[in-house]
Symmetry: C2
Subunit: 139 residues, 2 copies
């Protein structure tokens, strides 16, 4: 996983033309009916985020991953993974007790493909149902 | 700032009732016409995120902050600040060369107030115009 994480800042998406336009695309969604064992596995979710970034041609700079307490069912702790990427961010938050997760893929620039990254996460988490939304984050 | 950042995981928003409902509210927006000096100031943006979390009754667990290269105008480097909060996440990304920033406040649970946190950031960044959107991230 570490190989995919860049340790130095090289660039970021910049305004692309004389009008100082920033292109920003945000794909986000709510995923229902996921196997709780899958979304309580912190390493698996972190690996999925890293590989989703690669699939979507995005570049991770830093990664936060955290498992939350679930005293009444310790094997079903929720997790959060957030990646700062050159292009903006990726996040996955999970609630295993509800078989539920949410995903945000927000990328600037025209080279990244947040939709592909979102689809990659769907393939890995295998929700029974999901809602996918698009938000324009451009100037 | 450090005082506001919790070093131990205490809890996270859990399903609130027997139906395993997760309440998730996401307020996000695009901010235009901001003073470039304000949104290239990494410490100021990080402090603003921390105080926005406090204003919105959210609890920061980890904070990523990063300044990006802007070789042609080093005093106008864009920044990104992302906070993992107990309740999900807060992010601010900026493009000083376009006087532009985007803000995401995503919180689970009924106690946090993401709208208040968003308004706090507006007060600090003082955009000439902005668009504010709401997304339901509940089950």
């Amino acid at each position: 996983m570490a190989k995919a994480i860049q340790t130095q800042v090289v660039k970021r998406c910049k305004s692309r033309d004389k009008c100082q336009t920033v292109i920003g695309r945000h794909v986000y969604g709510n995923l229902y009916g996921i196997n709780p064992a899958v979304i309580s596995n912190l390493d698996f979710i972190a690996e999925t985020v890293v590989n989703a970034a690669i699939a979507g041609k995005m570049h991770i700079l830093e990664l936060i991953k955290r498992k939350f307490d679930a005293k009444d069912s310790p094997d079903r702790s929720g997790v959060s993974v957030i990646a700062l990427i050159e292009e903006s961010h990726i996040s996955v938050h999970t609630w295993p007790e509800s078989s539920y997760a949410t995903v945000d893929i927000y990328s600037c620039g025209s080279e990244a493909n947040p939709d592909t990254a979102f689809s990659y996460i769907l393939e890995k988490l295998k929700p029974k149902e999901y809602k996918r939304y698009y938000a324009d984050r451009s100037t």
